[in-house]
């Protein structure tokens, strides 16, 4: 059989190819060929076939980075390669490149053995054939403007371009999945919560030919849609509640998370969404909303460690920000250019620091506590705060007028205390003072015992506090006014939401190119803000660029990367893998998408629509491609094991947050409130024992906060909540475009034993017993509908019916065990329910919550 070359870019790495064999053998499918026998494409494509080989094996010494370039040869540009006579177009036999890769002399062989890089026979054949065909280059696929393929009027572009590819590679699309699967898939992908059984029934029985389209519209209007869409963005910009380094202490950022949710719910255009994040504070129409958006620039890691050097961390923060722009918008790996020019892509060290210089204006402590941030509140509250601030300032001014006199009085008082050896009244034997007063006096006495000049700031304050409280009656009215104004202002200010935001300072930090990334080296050139030189960019000469220029460039029509990067990630949300499978690298070491026409079309459509993300979501989920079944045929597994061509849908495990959401929603415990401060679900005692400065205890939420969606969980970077961690939620210490989907024993332990899931099972059991009054079979059928929105199979009923009986008998014989189980979690249980029965059905609920199907989107 013939395997068309273009179908198998993924299989060129023979290790991956062998793994396909491993998968297929258990299914008994004969596999026709080994890797070396993969037929070569008759026409070699540079981007598809050659660039991956050159990039992986040659560019690190013969590429973009001059510092590491060997023999003055670069192979990433044709004219340079020909200049050095690397090959003779059309004549492989006369080409040095071919001679060197075929050499049997270890000193001659390329790549050299000590590089531990090795070309396969197939790689060598491709290079030979490519030279024979003229050795033409193509510009890197993602650095040129995307080209929009023509799509016939009335056709869905996704379907048209997927089908076109399928025809080329000889695959047929799959049939549409059943409606129950479809509505569950749609709810998971767009909302992250399961549909109600009634919604499933209504959709299954809807005769309207537009039923799917109507459903999509309805689900897109669901206010929880924004929460679902936010998950990926929060990962890619590394949103978290704590600073990350060392003490990993809290900071105020949750209003920014709510801004993200709101932006998705309001379908804020992606260009505006971008601009507000990078430069929302610099907009002419900057508002509270856009300023909160600019909190993006503050999401990086920071430290409060004593002994941390400001210049060291200034450097860390700059590099962190450059990596974030690269990851979130450009799909470029930039980190290596901190020390040297990128080896594979044309991104230079100069580009790196020029990009970093855009952020030199952001006011922030480099080392130490973050500030409270901007108050995020309604206009009336802000007005009230302004009024209280004004009153406080007035009181301070009034106090200022008398400050010198008070200080003089204090000096005199201290002198008297010292001269007469006064014991403060509270410390005299038999003094009638309360503990706090004694404490204050003790502190003051200890401080007074030291020379005034030798006192620490805290000691100075102790003396002054005591003096003002007890040592003088001067200006009591003014002092009372100040203290009252301060208290009133604080009482109002403290509970108001606050958010770290970007505040631009005229005093910009100096940014230098750091040789080898060394922050101690100040010999490098000072850099002004600048856009990467290898990408199309506007020429501005009459002024210095700022963050607003950067933001606008990211979402300009000239930028070839942003729309592709965002569409590639969006595709993964709906199909489980990107069109280019390396989400964070659209550069040379990434993957030329097998269906580049589709990714480019999506990128163009996205920009043409005015960066309308919801339009793109709708386009994808209304496609026939999206609605296919996810069960592979043998032919599909053989020809396209990783489903890169989308001749079917793919099943994949839910994100960590959604695993939790499914259980809480099914149990009826979910509190569906949107936004607000992060919450603390149950967590094993002592999990934070390795945190310090200060040591911390974890106070789990007691009320509604216990039952919120997973994305509101307190995101402690150094110790992320362990049940989220078990399901691959990232710690968000670095930007991550891709979450892995592991399948590990800890996941079983979480779903079986975490009190969150035990409590949810108990609550679901109570629902089963109270909302379904039939026999055990009827109750199992009801539970199946609630949890999985389908009828149980006879075999499934047969498996669980005996479990119900056994558990019931067991708990009837051991009521204390039932009581113990039912005490897990804070949610009350109805006292009138039979304890043994409730405990027995808790096991049924628990078994359902642990099913693979429960945590898998089909």
């Amino acid at each position: 059989m013939s395997l068309a070359g273009p179908l198998f870019p993924v299989l060129m790495k023979h290790t991956l190819f062998r793994q396909a064999l491993v998968v297929l053998l258990p299914f008994g499918i004969p596999f026709p060929t080994g890797a070396a026998e993969l037929p070569l494409p008759s026409k070699i494509g540079f981007n598809r076939d050659v660039r991956p080989i050159l990039s992986d094996n040659c560019f690190s010494c013969h590429g973009n980075d001059p510092a590491h370039r060997k023999a003055k040869l670069r192979l990433d540009r044709r004219e340079d390669a020909l200049d050095r006579e690397a090959f003779v177009p059309g004549d492989p036999a006369a080409s040095l490149l071919v001679e060197r890769i075929l050499s049997t002399d270890a000193d001659e062989l390329m790549p050299p053995p000590d590089s531990h890089k090795k070309l396969t026979e197939r790689d060598k054949e491709i290079l030979k054939r490519w030279i024979a065909q003229g050795g033409e280059y193509q510009p890197h696929w993602s650095y040129g403007k995307p080209v929009k393929a023509a799509v016939p009027a009335g056709r869905n572009g996704v379907d048209f371009l997927v089908r076109k590819r399928l025809e080329e590679v000889g695959l047929n699309p799959s049939e549409e999945a059943d409606r129950r699967t479809l509505i569950r898939r749609l709810h998971t992908d767009l909302v992250g919560l399961p549909p109600k059984p009634s919604e499933v029934t209504a959709f299954v029985n809807d005769p309207d030919p537009e039923a799917w389209s109507k459903l999509v519209d309805r689900v897109l209007r669901n206010p929880h849609h924004g929460e679902r869409m936010a998950l990926g963005w929060l990962d890619v910009v590394r949103y978290a509640d704590t600073i990350g380094y060392h003490s990993d202490t809290p900071r105020n950022v949750w209003p920014w998370r709510d801004w993200v949710i709101r932006s998705f719910n309001d379908n804020k255009r992606f260009d505006r969404f971008t601009i507000e994040q990078v430069a929302g504070d610099l907009l002419a129409d900057a508002s509270q909303e856009s300023r909160v958006g600019s909190g993006f620039n503050r999401l990086l890691l920071s430290t409060e460690e004593g002994g941390a050097q400001a210049r060291d961390y200034e450097q860390r923060m700059l590099t962190d920000r450059v990596r974030a722009i690269g990851a979130a918008w450009l799909g470029q790996t930039t980190g290596c250019a901190q020390c040297h020019d990128h080896k594979f892509d044309p991104f230079t060290q100069r580009d790196f620091y020029a990009l970093g210089a855009f952020f030199a204006d952001i006011s922030e402590p480099i080392v130490g506590r973050r500030e409270d941030g901007m108050v995020v509140a309604a206009p009336a509250q802000l007005a009230q705060l302004a009024k209280l601030d004004a009153e406080l300032n007035k009181a301070k001014a009034g106090f200022e007028a008398i400050r010198l006199q008070l200080e003089a009085a204090q000096t005199q008082w201290e002198a008297d205390v010292a001269l007469y050896g006064v014991t403060l009244p509270e410390l005299r034997p038999g003094a009638a003072a309360v503990a706090a007063e004694v404490q204050r006096a003790k502190k003051a006495a200890a401080s007074l015992a030291k020379e005034a000049k030798a006192r620490t700031r805290a000691e100075q304050e102790a003396v002054r506090d005591y003096f003002l409280a007890r040592g003088t009656v001067l200006f009591q009215a003014e002092r009372d006014a100040l203290s009252k104004a301060q208290q009133e202002r604080d009482a109002f200010y403290n509970p108001l939401p606050k958010c770290l935001v970007s505040v631009s300072s005229a005093q910009k930090r100096t940014v230098r190119i750091l040789p080898r990334g060394n922050w101690m080296d100040e010999s490098g050139e000072v850099m002004k803000p600048g856009l990467p030189a290898y990408l199309p960019r506007p020429v501005v000469e009459d002024r210095e660029l700022n963050r607003l220029d950067l933001a606008r460039w990211l979402v300009s029509a000239e930028n070839p990367l942003t729309a592709r990067t965002v569409m590639n990630r969006l595709w993964k949300q709906f199909f489980g893998i990107g069109l280019s499978k390396v989400l964070d690298d659209l550069g040379a070491q990434g993957e030329t998408p097998p269906n580049q026409a589709l990714l480019d079309w999506l990128a163009c459509e996205f920009m043409d629509s005015g960066w309308d993300l919801r339009h793109m979501v709708r386009l994808i989920v209304t496609s026939e491609t999206y609605r296919q079944v996810s069960i592979p045929t043998k032919e599909q597994l053989a020809l396209d094991p990783y489903n890169r061509e989308v001749a079917r849908q793919s099943p994949f495990r839910l994100e960590a947050e959604l695993v939790r959401d499914q259980a809480l929603a099914t149990a009826g415990l979910l509190v569906p409130e949107i936004g607000g401060p992060s919450v603390k679900p149950y967590q094993p005692d002592g999990y934070w024992e390795n945190l310090n400065f200060p040591t911390r205890t974890y106070d789990a939420d007691k009320g509604a906060g216990q039952y919120r969606r997973g994305l509101y969980t307190w995101w402690q970077r150094s110790f992320l909540h362990p049940s989220l961690l078990a399901f691959d939620a990232p710690s968000r210490e670095e930007c991550s475009a891709e979450r892995s989907r592991s399948n590990i024993p800890q996941q079983a332990l979480v779903l079986l034993n975490d009190p969150t899931y035990v409590e949810a099972a108990r609550a679901f059991a109570a629902r089963i017993l109270s909302e379904c009054r039939g026999d055990s079979t009827a109750r199992l059928r009801w539970a199946w509908q609630e949890a999985l929105q389908r009828e149980p199979e006879p075999g499934e009923l047969a498996t669980l019916l005996p479990v119900v009986e056994q558990r019931l008998a067991g708990y009837r014989a051991d009521l204390p065990a039932a009581e113990a189980l039912l005490k897990v979690g804070l949610a009350p249980t109805a006292p009138e329910v039979d304890r043994a029965e409730l405990a027995a059905w808790t096991h049924v609920a628990r078994i359902l919550f642990n099913l693979h199907e429960m945590i898998t989107r089909a």
């Binding site: 893998i577 024993p745 079986l752 113990a820």
Partner: protein, 470 residues
Amino acid sequence: MHSGFTHFHRRAFLARSTQGLGAAALSSLLNPRHTVAAPLDGVLSALPLPQKARRVIWLSMAGGPSHLETFDPKPKLAEMDGKPMPESLTKGQQLAQLQGRPLTCFGPQHPFTKFGQSQIEICSLFPHLGSVIDDICLIRSMTTDAINHDPAHMFMNTGSQIAGRPSMGAWITYGLGTESENLPGFVVLTSLGKGGQNQPIAARQWSSGFLPSKYQGVQLRAKGDPVLYLTNPPGVKREVQGGDVSAINALNRQREAALADPEIATRIAQYEMAFQMQASIPDLMDVSGEGAKTLELYGCQPGDGSFASNCLLARRLAERGTRFIQLYHKDWDHHGGVKEGIAMKALEIDRACMALITDLKQRGLFEDTLIVWAGEFGRTPMSQGNGRDHHNKAMSVWMAGAGLRGGMVHGATDDLGYAAVDKVTTVHDLHATMLHQLGVEHNAFSFKFQGLDARLTGVEGARVIREILI
């Protein structure tokens, strides 16, 4: 590629484990010694080098132990006590809290003694270590790149100061798999010191980074569940838990037939593994079967959460086939009171380290277990009050076991202990040497991440320290 390898392991695992799965019954689930799921295999099916070490026990002394009060005698520094530090040494150098302050020599706060046949001189506070010094290879010329705790730990564990890289334990289990049937391949234990300078340690220190999550370190805790969520809910007995797991697997198996999704078979295997861990881990943690002599050797009480107890657990893990065992002992951050601080630390670790070596030897495990003792950086010969600041130009580490020369000193610092000057070694060298002893060629052991062949030993080049190998 990233996701590709994830598939590889999962499916390789599946291909092997499916044979045993169909017949798995409650009886086998209930027997912790009976293995259904196969141990984890590594990607390196054939090792390029002879394997001297089959496992590693890494003793992380968190906070940065002073080499000047442990393993690096400096009589010259004692002579210079109180005098200004020669500027030629310190000019333009990276310092932490002492940056920009006057720099004064601070003599060693404890005497040193020669031990063993090799007559190696170490601080007198460590007589038990001294008694096994002929089994130890002491490196006095270690250096590191980082100077603050958090980045320095990251560098020591992952070879990079940027978060998101795999820890060495993850690299090693990824490469070699584990020999344990029902325990994690990479285990972490932590203990606190009594001095109160317990630096925070983030879970990223044992993260699998960009490697598949199953290679992440599993922390065994002294209090509460030894592994998070290990214990059944209250009122649920082991038989009942086993019954639920059987029912879950039976239901999953019925779907598997219809859906042809290989993830389901993996899920089934993982539930079996989880259920086994619920028995095997308490069994591991229960040291009541250890004789009084053993407890006395280590100097610990069962369940006291001490470093000594963790050393005993490390030996039990080594016996059971865990590949990488990492112990953190905190409280080495002696900015002040280095004299009293080190004396306290010595009491906490000296006997236990000796016991670990002795116990492994008497059980025949010493020859193929590599022990590494290291902080994240050293400390300044200059005073900071009566303590010492962080320092990355010099530190002492020691290694023992698996093919290492005993009773030898490698490298040296200058007369004042400021900088390594002879046979200077780096963290990358240390990693390369460890991998070498495990049978792994460090330059060829990589994983594609963000377009790079990422390695534990970094991109700047690392060297196996051959001089210390037998």
